[in-house]
């Protein structure tokens, strides 16, 4: 029996170890090591911080990096503000069948590939697109309007793409809030805003945090939406990583970029967990 349990344990442990070791831990160590390598000649390398110096020394890299971070935070905040009233409505106002139908309606668009969603926004927003034609038809504008290829279009796409990941955790936490607690808040003289601030938001905090983390990660790591909807000025950091790896074939610099992106995302996730007193196990697991 004892040896049986031991064999069982080893059999269950091996896949976990292989998966995390070979696909997560070692590749990321390799990524870090490669980012510390400097090419000094054909097939000749040495260990140095040259790639990081290049990153911090070139304003384009640094500006793109910061811009990506700030825009991702903005996308996260917008997603939260837009999604919260809808989540509250579905969790508290809608009842029975209507509730499950609304919930499902929220999910359906996201079973569709991100590419299809982005394509949809392109058809709507571009110069020959639906909005432009509608505006011309209604006489509000004279010529075609280009609404694609700018930051606003990109933001619409980013918020759209990650909405589900905000709405679902919000609904889940809000549903667990007992109606009578809200009533008690009003009975004790609270008003709409104060009940929201003192009762609803603190209760929904785990949902807000896990939703925000996922949305932030998805925005930061997004490649498709900034490439297809953003303009020439909306360069996203992932596009630079892609360029170094696939176009320039400068893997060393690309690895340094990748590692910076990893550090940035870990830092912000950590800060968010820290500020709200949550743990990764509680919010994700």
């Amino acid at each position: 029996m004892q040896t049986g349990a031991r064999i069982g344990f080893i059999l269950l442990f091996a896949p976990l170890l292989l998966w995390l070791g070979l696909l997560i831990v070692i590749p990321h160590i390799d990524l870090f090591l490669l980012s510390l390598r400097e090419r000094i000649g054909v097939g000749e390398y040495r260990t140095s911080l040259a790639n990081y110096i290049a990153f911090f020394g070139e304003p384009l890299y640094l500006v793109t990096f910061m811009r990506t971070a700030i825009m991702s935070v903005l996308a996260t905040v917008l997603t939260l503000i837009i999604g919260f009233p809808v989540a509250f409505y579905i969790a508290k106002f809608a009842k029975g069948r209507a509730q499950s139908v609304l919930f499902l309606l929220c999910l359906v668009p996201f079973w569709v590939s991100e590419l299809v969603r982005t394509f949809g926004w392109m058809i709507l927003l571009r110069e020959t697109g639906i909005f432009s034609e509608l505006l011309q038809w209604s006489g509000l504008v004279d010529g075609p309007v280009e609404m694609l290829y700018n930051d606003a279009a990109m933001m619409v796409g980013l918020v759209y793409t990650s909405m589900l990941f905000m709405i679902v955790p919000l609904i889940t936490t809000l549903e667990s809030l007992d109606d009578s607690v809200i009533e008690a808040g009003y009975d004790l003289g609270g008003t709409g805003p104060s009940v929201l601030r003192e009762i609803v938001i603190p209760h929904a905090m785990p949902g807000i945090v896990s939703g925000s983390i996922v949305v932030f990660m998805l925005s930061l790591g997004n490649y498709l939406t900034p490439t297809m909807l953003g303009g020439k000025d909306s360069l996203w950091f992932t596009e630079m990583i892609y360029a170094q790896f696939i176009v320039r074939f400068n893997w060393e610099l690309g690895a340094a970029f990748g590692f910076m992106l990893l550090i940035l995302s870990s830092l912000i996730v950590w800060a968010m967990l820290r500020l709200t007193g949550q743990t990764l196990e509680k919010t994700m697991g």
Partner: protein, 286 residues
Amino acid sequence: MIPSIRQPAAFRILWKLYVALFFVYLALPLVVVSVFAFNDSLFPSLPWKGFTLEWFFGQSRPMIGVFNERPIMRALGNSAFIAVMVSALSVAVGTSNAFLFNRYQFRFRGLLYVLLLLPLVIPGIVLGISILIFSSNVANGLEDSFGWDIAALRPGLVLVILGQFSFVATIVTLVVSARLQKFDPTLEEAALNLGATRLTAVRTITLPYLMPALVGGFIVAFLMSFENFNTTLMLVGSDAPLTIAMFDRLKEGSTPLLNAVSLVLMIGSTGLALLMILFQGRKTGG
């Protein structure tokens, strides 16, 4: 919601309007993509030139339908193959992980659990490049020391499958764990008391109980793999899956062919998602 709390009627109406507007926002891109798949024009835009099914079944240029466009069908096949492999691997490893963390206490359990969740917070593109770097290192090492050239370690189907599996496995682990936690272990003990071996007990009692989660996990994994873009982009070789093939087309300019592909994809994935919901509803509700 809460009947005892009165709110101004205007406020309620505004709120309802907002929610309605929100659903319009959600539906709009998908609706236009679908509608323009049937436009008898070379561009997916207004004006409307009449209804056609040519973008699905057309045989001659310039209107070759989806089902007759070889590269697209091949990409669809690649996607399906990758998705099945990723789902099968993820369900196997995810189930094993769920049992491990549910049944055993061991050293570094907490640390390993955090490590298991990490793929969720690593940007997909970083996951892609690290696996690319690692596999190239291994491939180069093997080639230099033994003269073996292993194609599987170069960008291509195998790496795409491994790359997607690396984070889909986490999701499936969470799905299966959630159900395993609700399992009553005394049921398994009863089977053991009745003379079953440990393996038989798990096979005949626990696994059937887990079935909704296993099927659900498989479908979620399948859909995630099918629509994955970031990780795949860095690992793709010559056998591009559908998302990458469509992306390359879209960069060159769009035709309603892409709308037609999108609609086929939408119908497929919505169907799968509904299937999963029905399946789980039946198993857990009954």
